[in-house]
């Protein structure tokens, strides 16, 4: 909503007041940045030694490998979650109560349970003491279950967002239920869902950081040995966070681009209503 509708065009007094606010904000922000830099300098965080590791080729390689592992976990989890979500999302749309209710239960369960709880459970159950899964796969499995449950809701919302007439027309042509779903509803729904799907990658990518707790490889896991060796906790935290933010912003830009290409200015499925923000509930 444009602010200008709510109030009259600002007069000279208001403009002067706004200018004062602008100056004050700039001063406060500058003071904050200055204070942060002063603290960093004062505690000796800005010395070359503490930052050198981040352009030492051997360590850059290690961090690059960690980033690759993080991406591997995120995309592996999302790919598996798509399968999981498709099965249970369509399950929730089923006409048979025997399929619908178990699907509902599975989706609700995995959406309400913290990813970290899932991750630790899977780690203790299937990894520790010669279990079949490596910590990396524990992270992928936990993220698959959680994101799959979220995506099931996205798929359901996507299929429901396809105009009713499409399915009715397909039935009128004599198609079977599975044909209607697979060749009419799903292909159209995918177009609506794609941006949400990419945004979900951001959530998954952020959650891979939880692998820290079960010593899975990844960016957060590599941060610990680095700061333990060089005692450069602050620079490490800053650099690793910057990497996460950059990758996430690239993913978000991709989601926006796909949205413009595929569905124009129309709103995508509102993920905040189906459980973006690391959870939530369906409408």
């Amino acid at each position: 909503m444009a602010g200008s509708i709510l109030f009259d065009a600002p007069g000279p007094k208001t403009i002067a007041r706004h200018r004062l606010y602008t100056v004050l904000t700039v001063l406060v922000l500058a003071a904050l940045v200055g204070f942060a830099v002063w603290r960093l300098e004062d505690t000796g965080q800005l010395v070359y030694d503490k930052w050198e590791v981040f352009w030492t080729p051997a360590y850059v390689e290690v961090i690059g490998e960690a980033l690759l592992n993080t991406l591997k976990m995120a995309f592996g989890a999302i790919l598996l979650a798509i399968v999981f979500g498709l099965v249970f999302g369509i399950g929730k749309l089923s006409e048979h109560a025997l399929i619908r209710w178990p699907s509902w239960l599975v989706v609700e369960f995995f959406r309400a349970v913290p990813v970290l709880l899932l991750m630790i459970f899977i780690f203790y159950w299937l990894s520790i003491g010669g279990g079949p899964l490596s910590p990396l796969w524990c992270v992928i499995a936990a993220l698959m279950l959680y994101n799959g449950a979220v995506l099931a809701e996205v798929f359901r919302a996507g299929v429901n967002a396809v105009p009713r007439g499409q399915a009715e027309a397909a039935y009128a042509l004599g198609m079977r239920k599975s044909q209607v779903m697979l060749s009419v509803q799903l292909p159209q729904a995918v177009k609506i869902m794609l941006p949400s799907l990419i945004s979900q990658c951001v959530v998954a990518l952020k959650d891979t950081s939880l692998g820290f707790y079960i010593v899975a490889p990844g960016l957060t896991a590599v941060a610990r040995p680095i700061y333990q060796q060089f005692a450069n906790q602050v620079p490490t935290a800053i650099v690793i966070t910057a990497i996460y933010i950059t990758v996430n912003l690239l993913l978000t830009a991709l989601a926006t681009w796909v949205q413009h290409r595929l569905i124009g200015e129309k709103n995508p499925i509102d993920l905040s209503r189906v459980g973006n923000m690391d959870g939530g509930r369906a409408v």
Binding site: M1, T22, T25, R39, T43, A112, V115, L210, Q233, Y244
Partner: protein
């Protein structure tokens, strides 16, 4: 099963701590998020920009990294939050662990709360504000009687999903020295390897109960505020 039931007080204590983290950082994030949102819809350009940068940065940072900042990096800058333990109220004081966990959760959640508020204000159709202005309401009147009541209703569902996410996010504190539900489950797991699945289910049910109570409360609120 009996591993948990014979130590049921520990189970309750763990969820008490989870609830404590949730309530404190939930309220704090509502306040700070509302502040950020008001900056974002306000008329001063630089305030809008600053709030937008905050939201972008914190939304794209993993919560775990914010915890690393609070628990690992801040002490190196001379902030270990120990001062908070000096404040005593009726013999109780807040631990530094609890304080920095709430701080991390609040900083992270506020970004999402701000977005929820903003989307609530944006959900009010422009025509409503225009109509308010057209019948001669002032800025305050049109906000008070037209825009805000509708925005408040629109903001409940997204705000609920943010708070539900916060309940689950409190679990990250487990990695930084809080004996809340997830850390306690891990301890139970270490001691009773043969009852893993039951232990997991009992702790999962604890979380589901909390999430359901918050969701039901929000449904009730939504229904009560609904205009026919």
């Amino acid at each position: 099963m009996e591993a948990v039931f014979s130590n049921f007080d520990e189970y309750l204590k763990a969820f008490g701590l989870t609830l404590g983290l949730f309530v404190v950082s939930g309220l704090a994030s509502l306040v700070f998020g509302l502040f950020l949102a008001s900056l974002r819809v306000g008329p001063v350009g630089i305030m809008r920009k600053a709030a937008a940068v905050y939201v972008t940065v914190f939304r794209n940072t993993p919560l775990l990294m914010i915890f690393i900042f609070m628990a690992v990096a801040m002490p190196k800058l001379g902030y270990n939050f120990k001062f908070i333990e000096d404040f005593e109220i009726a013999g109780y004081s807040v631990s530094a662990f609890f304080f920095r966990s709430c701080l991390a959760l609040t900083l992270y959640t506020s970004a999402f709360v701000a977005e929820a508020f903003r989307s609530g204000v944006n959900a009010v159709p422009v025509g409503q504000a225009e109509a308010g202005r057209a019948i001669g309401l002032t800025f305050t009147q049109s906000m008070r009687y037209v825009v805000l009541p509708q925005a408040l209703r629109a903001v409940v569902p997204p705000l609920t999903s943010v708070q539900v996410a916060l309940i689950k996010n409190t679990s990250v504190a487990a990695a930084f020295g809080m004996a809340e539900a997830v850390a306690t489950m891990r301890a139970f797991n270490n001691d009773n390897a043969d009852q893993r699945i039951q232990i997991f289910l009992l702790f999962a049910i604890g979380y589901i109960l909390i999430v359901e109570v918050v969701s039901l409360a929000s449904y009730a609120l939504e229904r009560r505020w609904k205009v026919a």
